[in-house]
Amino acid sequence: MFDTVEDVQKRLNEQQYICGKNIATVVFLAKALGKPVLVEGPAGVGKTELGKVVAKALNLPMIRLQCYEGLDESKALYEWEYSKQLLYTQMLRDKISEILEGANTLKEASERIASQDDIFFSERFIVPRPLLKAITSEDQVLLLIDEVDKSDPEFEAFLLEVLSDYTVSVPEIGTLEAKHIPLVFLTSNNAREMSDALKRRCLHLYIDYPDEAAEIEILNTKVPGIDSRLVEDIVHLVQRVRELDLKKTPSISETLDWARALMVMNADSLETELVNDTLNIILKHQGDIQKAQSELNRLLEQKAAERAADTPQPVEPDPGKKSVLH
């Protein structure tokens, strides 16, 4: 359990997840009220990661259901294990004379066989999939339903039933009820809008790109040992790039990749040439790169000028660095 919103923030921080109070508040309430959370936002802002770190912070086992087009109940909930059942039929055939021993009429015989049905369709022959696992687990779990927007609307309708009463009915067996209501996180990239009914059942969290301060903190946490001036430069540029009208806006993962790459290259600050050479790490489309390039070069010049003004005695640039590229 979390004590307060600050407690959430602190404990997620310990799991190397940087979040503001808005995210922490929703996590706090989800746990306190036992309600599912629908997390939406652009790609790579840490939606999936949030589910994972909350599980770790609360020390709950995590069960993940990855959604995709065509995902259906048998993949998400349970399947009958045909081969096992078949094997059982074989056994039954061997036993059949035993079972039928002493049966005088056809009716009696078929009744005796029918009585074996119960065993045939029992939990023994069920292969549990993530949803069933989450519901029947002995301990409370965190159920991460990832990229729910990729699933079909019909699956969503089914999910809605499960999330409203946390019971699952298997026609041949009966109703299975959750021993503990799982803590549920659903993530969506908005490939399709979720139904209002689902949204009503959930708390809603919209994660946007982090602001400059938060992103700096993320880099410092996730890329230990990185030069702080370099971090500032990177984040500053990425934030500007996000303001451009691009096909694919760079996400936190791309900022992280960029930072790691630049660190490997021993860079200690960003210069025009270096940026131009590595821009393809954060931007994937040629058109985007071209768009960003001119904008960034302008920014870098401006920045260089500011720095020159700040530092009266210009430091000799270390020739050992940055030339790695050529």
Partner: protein, 471 residues
């Protein structure tokens, strides 16, 4: 508190943010779990329980600030100023204490109204509540324009009984004089009460102004949302275009969901005996899995002819965005653009993302010259010559254009032949039927050879057309 929240949800609803009763109750539960001192937390808690569409968030933020704007602070400010106006050596606490003692000694017959009492003890909380009450009782939420501010303020002050409270206080000061309060103190108290009366007048006025802001905001917000869908394609700003792109995406998404549910219903086809036998060979013929024969629903083949001359290009733009967002609802889409020449741009859509493709297509796509004068007759003639053979009884032809032919030969017979080969010919015209056939419009000539011809001037109409296409 709960009442205030319910009131807030009503404001949200009016601005088009759908909040259900269940969600309102969730917000109560949420607030039970946390302290309400931190305004940001309070705001986040209400948001996560009540606002589920990300694009409602900006509206929520604005309304929250307006609604929970701390009128409280305004009032406190005004009262503070009233006290400060009494001069540097005025000691409120001392006066209050003296008052308390005197009142306690006066035997029971002090008869003060609630307002008078709140004024006398300079109690901001009670005063705020009284103002709120007066607002509700005088129907302040009906305020719609600046000119009504004076009217509503007066009405609220009457509701509160400010006049009565003044007399009430004067009577009481007489009693205080008899009870032995000094003339100096009495004069001060009198001045203070006057100042507070003025403070209340100003606060009430501000309260009314804020309410007007709130109400206007709802109105603007609703107006903005509705109008985009209904705004005529003829006068769109750059900004509108961008926003509409999103609206189209949403509408397309909605249609797609509907279609996919329709499909699912149809999908359970007939029981397929042979298929079932084949599938279950492995289980020794025991039918574990049943196979149903898929009933194939005919998805239409689409041939789209888009007029890209500037008068119609926006209709073409959004129609193209619609159908290409809904690709999977069609077996095949072929797209042609025309002004006078006609050219196929199907490839452009295959090789680019949708927005780039649309921009290129509307620019002639390197297959036609967009800077000519419209000539429908010639464009249809080219289609007739080169592509008529590709039409069959599963193809729907959609033509987007205003049929303003610059007095050229309409060559309606081309359209006649297209109609006789295709399943359907649908014409989407941004002009109203009243204008068809007037001036250089030859729509009246073409209409004869269409199965459906409709006016389509805004997104609402357009999405309705698209829906009938994929039915």
């Amino acid at each position: 508190m709960q009442r205030k929240i319910v009131e807030f949800t009503n404001i949200l609803r009016k601005a088009g943010v759908r909040v259900s009763v269940a969600e309102t109750i969730d917000s109560f539960l949420a607030l039970d779990e946390m302290s309400l001192d931190d305004r940001e937390l309070f705001k986040d808690a209400l948001r996560t329980t009540m606002v589920k569409h990300w694009d409602d968030i900006p509206a929520y933020d604005r309304l929250f600030d307006l609604f929970w704007s701390g009128f409280h602070d305004v009032l406190r400010d005004e009262l503070g100023q009233a006290v400060a106006g009494m001069g540097g050596d005025f000691d409120l606490d001392q006066l209050m204490q003296q008052l308390q003692e005197l009142l306690a000694n006066m035997d029971g017959d002090v008869d003060l109204s609630e307002l008078a009492r709140a004024m006398l003890s300079v109690d901001a909380n009670s005063l705020e509540q009284l103002i709120q009450q007066a607002g509700e009782e005088s129907g302040l939420d009906g305020i719609r324009n600046m000119l009504q501010i004076g009217f509503f303020s007066r009405r609220m002050l009457e509701q509160m009984g400010l006049e009565g409270a003044g007399e009430n206080l004067r009577d009481m000061m007489e009693q205080l004089r008899e009870a032995g309060m000094g003339e100096d103190d009495l004069a001060r108290l009198g001045d203070l009460m006057k100042a507070i009366q003025e403070a209340l007048r100003r606060s009430v006025r501000q309260y009314a102004e804020r309410e007007l802001d709130k109400q206007n905001h709802d109105y603007m917000e609703r107006f903005r949302r509705e109008s985009l869908q209904e705004k005529s394609f003829y006068n769109l700003t750059e900004d509108d275009l961008r926003k509409m792109r999103e609206v189209v995406d949403r509408l397309a998404q909605k249609l797609k969901n509907i279609v996919s549910i329709r499909r699912k219903r149809q999908r359970k086809g007939k029981f397929d005996l042979k298929g079932t036998m084949r599938r279950n060979m492995a289980h020794g013929g025991v039918p574990f899995e049943l196979i149903f024969r898929q009933r194939r629903k005919d998805r239409p083949k689409l041939v789209v002819l888009c007029d890209i001359s500037s008068s119609v290009s926006n209709v073409s733009r959004f129609f193209l965005q619609f159908i290409h967002s809904l690709q999977e609802c069609f077996t095949k889409i072929r797209t042609f653009v025309f002004v006078a020449e006609l050219g196929e741009v199907t490839e452009i859509f295959r090789n680019n993302d949708i927005y780039t493709a649309i921009d290129q297509a509307l620019d002639g796509g390197d297959v036609i010259n967009p800077y000519t004068r419209s000539n429908f007759g010639m464009a249809f003639n080219v289609f007739w010559r080169d592509h008529l053979a590709s039409l069959d009884n599963r193809t729907t032809v959609v033509i987007i254009g205003d049929a303003r032919n610059n007095y050229n030969d309409p060559r309606a017979w081309c359209l006649r032949d297209m109609q006789s080969k295709a399943k359907n010919v649908i014409w989407i015209n941004p002009e109203a039927p009243g204008a068809w056939g007037f001036g250089d419009s030859v729509m009246d000539r073409y209409v004869t050879y269409t199965d459906v011809a409709e006016e389509c001037r805004n997104l609402k109409q357009l999405s309705r057309m698209v829906d009938t296409l994929i039915l």
